[in-house]
């Protein structure tokens, strides 16, 4: 086997040398010593099952020598592998020492051949796996999944009857008159805040500052802001009590933060 390899070397010396040098230069491109061994094994141009582990060990050791010559720093695991292959080589070449315990050179070589074959097999199937049709690229799921959503929850609670009752309630209101702007100038009631919060908290998935829940236009005037803040805070506490909201404060005097309790 080794002889075959050498004769081939002689036949394509230049090509082989370029290849060997390329290997050395590309040392960064290898995913560890086993990957390098697999690449070297391919140059034997035989079925991995028939590979000459001895020849492979020699190829690897030559590679490491070459790298040293070019002053390429090899990672420790490449050197560990080199030491192990040197040991394997000696085991394969020398007659077995009956006094020595442990696996024989043949067993070790067989396992290395198995590892190479297995790694190559995994590479092959990994490529086949990635070549498969993939979800979101070649085939697709429903574009509008209709699972849990606020929208759905609300849908089931509002009926025509609700709508008519709401309208009827409005139509019988005594206060069915144009707006009294004066009355609601500076006071934001807790009831208003509660009503407002109830519609807003559904969207408060993330922690948000209490101030963000104040009604539009109530932030600038201090009187209004105070009233709105107090009402919103009181309403928030009610909602916490009802288990619909969570409140936190990161530290003393830090802004109060709210989020919907899911």
């Amino acid at each position: 086997m080794a002889d075959d390899l050498f004769s081939e070397d002689i036949r394509n010396t230049t090509a082989e040398r370029i290849k060997a040098e390329a290997l050395v230069v590309d040392v960064d491109g290898f995913e560890g010593p086993l990957d390098l061994l697999l690449t070297l094994a391919r140059t034997q141009k035989v079925d991995l099952r028939k590979i000459s582990v001895l020849a492979l060990a020699e190829q690897y050791l030559r590679f490491v020598e070459e790298a040293k010559k070019l002053r390429i720093e090899l990672a420790a695991d490449y050197l560990v592998m080199a030491a192990w292959l040197a040991f394997l080589k000696s085991r394969l070449l020398l007659p077995p020492d009956p006094a020595e315990a442990g696996p024989s050179g043949e067993e070790l070589a067989a396992h290395l051949a198995f590892q190479l074959e297995r790694l190559e097999a995994m590479r092959r199937v990994a490529a086949r796996l990635m070549a498969r049709d993939q979800l979101g690229r070649d085939f697709f799921a429903r574009g509008v999944p209709e699972d849990v959503s606020v929208k759905r929850s609300v849908e089931y609670k509002a009926t025509v009857l609700d709508l008519m009752q709401a309208y009827a309630r409005l139509r019988t209101k005594d206060s069915f008159e144009p707006l009294h702007m004066k009355e609601r100038d500076n006071v934001f009631t807790m009831e208003q805040a509660l009503e407002r919060m109830k519609t807003l908290i559904g969207h408060a998935i993330e922690w948000s500052d209490l101030s963000q829940f104040l009604p539009d236009g109530w932030q600038t005037d201090p009187k209004q802001r105070r009233s709105a803040t107090a009402a919103t805070f009181a309403a928030s506490l009610e909602l916490v009590k009802a288990g619909k909201l969570e409140i936190r404060q990161q530290e003393t005097f830090a802004p109060l933060q709210l989020r919907a309790k899911l």
Binding site: A141, V148, S153, V154, E155, A158, Y167, L170, E177, E195
Partner: protein
């Protein structure tokens, strides 16, 4: 299948058979997040395809099934059959009742459309929060109508087809009138202030405009 003569000369390949086009429309509508118009579907299909005809076949195929091809605006989309909505309910962990503010606002929009925000506030007697309108807009139960041709050109709100679908109404005129509400005992016998009566008459005309 109507193929324009220009199309024939332009395309080297014939359009796929109609059964194949139907499969294509089926897959496109299924995977797309928004309803697609006939034209939008067609641009995704091979040259010379007739999405319209494929859609006719597809809609027929899904008639009475657990999901249907429905028209949404000028688009088409798959929707689970309305009678099976109860099956989807389990997915919702928390059912929320529409707030009083929201349902009242919605009722006002449904009965008075097209209606401006300040008109809603006038009827409810309290300000309408942005959140309430946003929620209704998000639910797609209301949408923006034409601007009112009055000073400030305020936007108006109108109820949507989604709203009608949800409440099982053919059109907004199906909503019971004030008299029917009163007859059903939902409304006090006490007549509302005169001004409200006047408004009732005007309303119906508005509604008619809206849903033609």
């Amino acid at each position: 299948m109507s193929i324009e003569p220009e199309d024939v000369s332009e395309s080297l390949f014939e359009a796929p058979p109609i059964a194949e086009q139907e499969r294509m429309v089926e897959a496109i509508l299924f995977a797309c997040a928004e309803p697609l118009s006939r034209a939008q579907i067609e641009t995704r299909m091979p040259h010379g395809s007739d999405a319209g005809e494929a859609l006719v076949h597809l809609r027929k195929r899904y008639e009475g099934r657990g999901v249907n091809v429905v028209r949404v605006g000028d688009g088409y989309a798959f929707r689970t059959a309305p009678d099976l909505g109860f099956l989807m309910q389990r997915e919702a962990k928390e059912t929320r009742k529409l707030s009083r503010a929201a349902i009242e606002t919605l009722a006002i929009i449904a009965y008075h459309q097209p209606v401006t925000r300040s008109e809603i506030e006038e009827i409810r007697g309290v300000s309408v929060s942005r959140g309430t309108l946003d929620l209704l807009l998000e639910l797609e139960w209301i949408k923006l109508g034409r601007r009112r041709m009055t000073p400030g050109r305020p936007v108006t709100f109108i109820a949507t087809q989604t709203f009608l679908d949800h409440f099982g109404l053919e059109n907004a005129r199906d909503l019971p009138g004030v008299r029917e509400l009163r007859d059903a005992g939902l409304l006090d016998n006490r007549p509302p202030p005169g001004m409200a009566m006047a408004q009732t008459d005007g309303e119906d005309e508005d509604q008619e405009d809206m849903f033609d």
